[in-house]
Amino acid sequence: MPGVFINREASMDPLKAKSLYEKYGFLIYGRCLRILCSEEDAKDAMQDIFLKLYNNREKFRNNEHIIPWIYKVSKNHCFNIIRQRRKFVLAIEPDTIADEHALEHSISNRNLIRKIFGVHNKKIQDAVYYTYVEELNQNEIQRITAQSPATIRRNLNRFKNSMKNIKKRLGI
């Protein structure tokens, strides 16, 4: 009985995979760790996202699009994981929103992501996530999300206003 070599879509060429992994693996892992706040979870998520990258590698016209793609896909993938697990719920923590100017410095990624999940508008989520968690500037966010700097500023203000409204509702 003759044997056959594996030839499935998910198969990997070890040399190509290794090159890609050593180039971008750390970047994917870093994004996942920021969101999932767990090394094990980040490692698992990194595996999934790397496979997506590997399977889509031919579609990039040039490498300059890969890094923004990694930021975008990592964020979407990890947010989906959180949604599926219902690990985070919107929790109002008055202490962390008492001073909006200190927002980006005083609260942890985990708390911030929890708050982002309380916002249902994806564009606002993106603006807040890339500004405060990834700490990217508006030109960089534009490269990832295609939101103009003016739109990003508007979305950040909406987020801050929503925090203020929550404070008002709580009588803080």
Binding site: G3, V4, I67
Partner: protein, 256 residues
């Protein structure tokens, strides 16, 4: 890249591209000039470089490779029409074997996501892929394990012989289990070449939706073996933590 070293924010995407080698020559030159005069960007660049080095030291490609399918001339599977025969043979081995093991039962899975199982393909001494209807193998033959799981699960695969010697086949002996990608009949990265040992051996695959620690599982198997005092009476049952799939084999002397 903003070349103003006094009034700018660090361009993190550009620095990431620089570290990844995804930057055009002219841009690279401009960035390097900028880094020379901007301590903030230079510090961030060094930070990213260190993150990359730490990541690769901690999670080298080889550890990642162990849990994804790959193209390799060492990996062989049965042609499609023989897969059913191989599956049937495996089921016969699992269900009809003389040993008391918990076979996979679709309706009673717990401790794993979806269904999962393992089967084997064998390459005989002549180099041909063979249908093996009994559980008899020969030293020098190569066994390729193929796993199937309908969702991401963790796997530990080990073998135990009649003397109680445990061999860890997947992953490394001191590691934790590694998450498998879902799919059907996916070969594990390495095939196993059967050594000169003659006698019975049991391959046991532990699937779980949670990470398992290899030394813990090995200890459980050894404890069960010491209690049973023989492979025939050994019972490794599934529990809340994992699901078990077992394949008993007998190795005999090569045909003359």
């Amino acid at each position: 890249m903003n070349t103003d070293t006094k009034n700018h924010s660090v361009d993190k995407l550009a620095i990431a591209a620089y570290i990844c080698g995804d930057i055009a020559e002219d841009e690279k030159y401009r960035l390097e000039q900028h880094l020379h005069g901007c301590s903030e960007c230079k510090a961030y660049c060094e930070q990213v470089r260190a993150e990359k080095a730490t990541f690769l030291a901690r999670y080298p490609f080889e550890s990642f490779q162990a849990c994804v399918p790959q193209n390799s001339k060492n990996i062989i599977v049965f042609p499609i029409m023989y897969r059913f025969l191989a599956l049937a043979a495996t089921l016969v081995l699992v269900v009809g074997g003389p040993l008391l093991y918990t076979a996979l039962k679709q309706e009673s899975y717990h401790g794993i996501k979806g269904g999962a199982g393992i089967k084997i393909a064998v390459q005989n001494l002549a180099g041909d892929i063979e249908k093996r209807i009994d559980n008899t193998y020969y030293p020098g033959e190569s066994i390729q394990f193929l796993y199937s799981c309908s969702d991401k699960n963790y796997l530990i695969l080990l073998g135990i012989d009649e003397n109680g010697k445990v061999s860890i086949y997947f992953p490394d002996a001191h590691d934790s289990s590694i998450a498998l990608q879902k799919g059907a009949d996916i070969p594990l990265p390495q095939s196993i070449r059967l050594d000169e040992y003659i006698g019975k051996e049991l391959f046991i695959a532990f699937f779980s939706d949670k990470r398992l620690h290899v030394p813990d599982i090995r200890d459980q198997v050894l404890t069960a073996f010491n209690d049973a005092r023989s492979l025939e009476k050994l019972s490794v049952k599934k529990n809340d933590a994992f699901e078990v799939s077992a394949i008993p084999i007998i190795k005999i002397k090569p045909r003359q």
